[in-house]
């Protein structure tokens, strides 16, 4: 089973992102999935968590995620207050929204950090700094757990029609940015 933990702030759409990934994996790929918010107090701006579980078979375990394979961080300012890598499996990936103007990107010998300026992508395509769908596209490229096509179909189903097209485009932009980066890295090592 693959376990993904989402970190964001209330209002940034972490719960929706967790749901879109589960929808993509289950209805638009052939997996089973679960998604749910961390059942805590939710307030706009306060740190929130959400979870997605993906497996080839029926998922029976209904407990929260304590040892994720991947962590997605929608808001880099959370690094100062939340231990986003808590329980992350060794070699696990952290896909993080890292707006360009900030200082050096986080790194670690235990985990792989994949940073992307999702705020810039969301701002330019959607017109708002809401990065949840952009980060689903980034996760898709960084891990390959679901295809971009499945993510796009899931976004189109999950969001109101007037928002869907731009969010689908934002997810694709993030996917292509990270895929291109991987392609370039492979090319460079040849």
């Amino acid at each position: 089973m693959l376990q993904i933990r989402w970190h964001g702030r209330g209002g940034q759409g972490a719960v929706t992102a967790a749901r879109i990934l589960g929808l993509a994996a289950s209805v638009y790929e052939n997996y089973y999935a679960q998604s749910f918010p961390a059942f805590g107090v939710e307030r706009r701006g306060a740190p929130v968590m959400a979870f997605t579980k993906i497996d080839a078979g029926v998922i029976l375990d209904r407990s929260e995620i304590y040892e994720p394979d991947y962590v997605v961080v929608l808001d880099s300012t959370l690094l100062g207050t939340v231990n986003v890598t808590a329980g992350l499996k060794p070699g696990g990936k952290v896909v993080i929204n890292w707006p360009g103007a900030q200082a050096e990107q986080p790194s670690s010998s235990d985990y792989e950090y994949i940073a992307i300026d999702a705020t810039q992508i969301a701002q330019s395509i959607i017109g708002r700094p809401i990065t949840n769908t952009t980060m689903v596209g980034a996760l898709s490229a960084a891990t390959g757990i679901v295809s971009l096509a499945a993510v796009q179909k899931a976004i189109a189903e999950a969001l109101p029609s007037q928002l869907a097209a731009k969010n689908v485009a934002a997810a694709a932009a993030a996917f292509n940015a990270i895929s291109g980066r991987k392609h370039n890295a492979e090319f460079a090592t040849r």
Binding site: R19, L23, V27, F39, L60, S63
Partner: protein, 392 residues
């Protein structure tokens, strides 16, 4: 035949209601139930369900409105949680005592104080003796499936008893997962249109909800037990019929998982059953003969079925997501009473966990099994009622 949807338990219940086609719905919003009746209201607004949605000022009025509508011969639906169910308490025995068929979804939530919106079984378990059938589900699919079965059960002429379909707040109500929705035709084949035995009709007046003197009262109460007896008999049959039509196995009264040769069994209710299955599998692979016994029907209580599964087991853990203050968990009391005089010497521990939405982790369940094994090895139970997962 099926539509695969990625939805949560509340949406699954709402889709079931859409296909069951009740004529009257009355409800008052309360977390974690609210999104059930919001979705049902949306179905009505979009023309996907032709029903009267009565907006009321309280849960008490919601159940009173449903009682009136079912007395007039309508199929009805309502849903609530926690303090909302407590507020319905006065109306609950009116519905059951008048032998009115009805289904209510209870998205289980702990009771205040301290105030909480998160899940445990204290709300519905504390309404145990109000004459309603209580079925507890494990996941969103079972929530959908059980709603359909609950109407067939409730409306059976020998049963005529209202049913609570209980789904864990958040862990089932707000967790998205794959749910297979059958088409309407198959649902209608399984659940025919409701035909009331009696209904309010000015042309042929009856008295409903009468007052009786001591020379009559006990017979009414005895007849309610006969309805429960009929339900005990009918629940496995309805589950079998459902499985034949929809091709999905159903739990019936209980679901015994890997219990045939088990030495250590954990008895569960609701969503924690799934996690317990995973833990039992893991312990099996390390050589322990573990099993899980899910109680789906808490009322009527399936004592006989339970004793058949548990009679040869060495050690039993009973997991309660509720507590009867001054004694033990409600399921603990029930299971021990069923076993009394029916089995050999066994070690039994009543575990209390997951109150007010506290996550029950696989490691918590492993600890429970360890404690059961230890009690069997020592031939004694150190602590017959034990809270698991308390803060240190």
């Amino acid at each position: 035949m099926f539509e695969r949807k990625f939805i949560n338990g509340n949406a699954a219940v709402a889709h079931a209601v859409r296909m069951i086609q009740p004529e009257v719905i009355a409800a008052y919003p309360i977390t974690p139930q609210s999104t059930i009746v919001e979705k049902v209201a949306e179905f009505i607004a979009q023309g996907e369900l032709d029903a009267e949605y009565i907006k009321v000022e309280s849960e008490h009025s919601a159940l009173a409105a449903c009682f009136g509508a079912v007395s007039a011969g309508c199929r009805v639906f309502t849903a609530t949680s926690s303090q909302g169910l407590a507020y319905m308490c006065e109306m609950l025995p009116y519905v059951s005592g008048n032998r009115m068929p009805m289904v209510m979804a209870v998205a289980n939530r702990g009771m205040a104080a301290p105030w909480t919106i998160w899940g445990d079984h204290q709300d519905s378990v504390s309404m145990r003796d109000q004459g309603w059938i209580q079925l507890y589900v494990e996941n969103a699919q079972e929530a959908f499936d059980t709603c359909l079965q609950a109407y067939l059960l409730s409306e059976d002429s020998a049963v005529r008893t209202p049913v609570m379909v209980c789904l864990d707040g958040f862990v089932v109500s707000h967790t998205d997962e794959l749910v297979e929705l059958p088409d309407l035709q198959a649902v209608q084949q399984f659940l025919p249109t409701y035909q009331p035995l009696y209904s309010i009709d000015p042309a042929t007046p009856f008295t409903f909800s009468i007052g009786v003197a001591p020379d009559r009262y006990m017979e009414y109460k005895y007849s309610q037990q006969l309805g429960m007896d009929a339900a005990l008999h009918l629940i496995p049959q309805i589950s079998a019929r459902f499985a034949a039509i929809f091709g999905r196995e159903q739990a019936g009264l209980i679901d015994a998982y890997r219990c045939a040769d088990a030495e250590y069994v954990l008895v569960t209710m609701g969503s924690v059953t799934g996690t317990a299955r995973v833990v039992a599998d893991k312990l099996r692979s390390s050589g322990l003969k573990t099993g899980v016994l899910k109680v789906r029907s808490f009322r009527p209580f399936p004592s006989k079925a339970l004793v058949e599964v548990l009679s040869q087991v060495k050690g039993i853990g009973i997991l309660d997501r509720n507590y009867s203050f001054g004694n033990q968990g409600a399921l603990g009391t029930e299971v021990k009473a069923a076993l009394a005089g029916n089995t050999a010497q066994q070690q039994i521990i009543n575990f209390i966990a997951g109150l007010g939405g506290r996550d029950i982790k696989p490691s918590d369940l492993e600890l429970m099994y360890q404690k059961i094994v230890q009690a069997v090895e020592l031939d004694t139970v150190a602590q017959p009622v034990e809270f698991i997962g308390l803060r240190g």
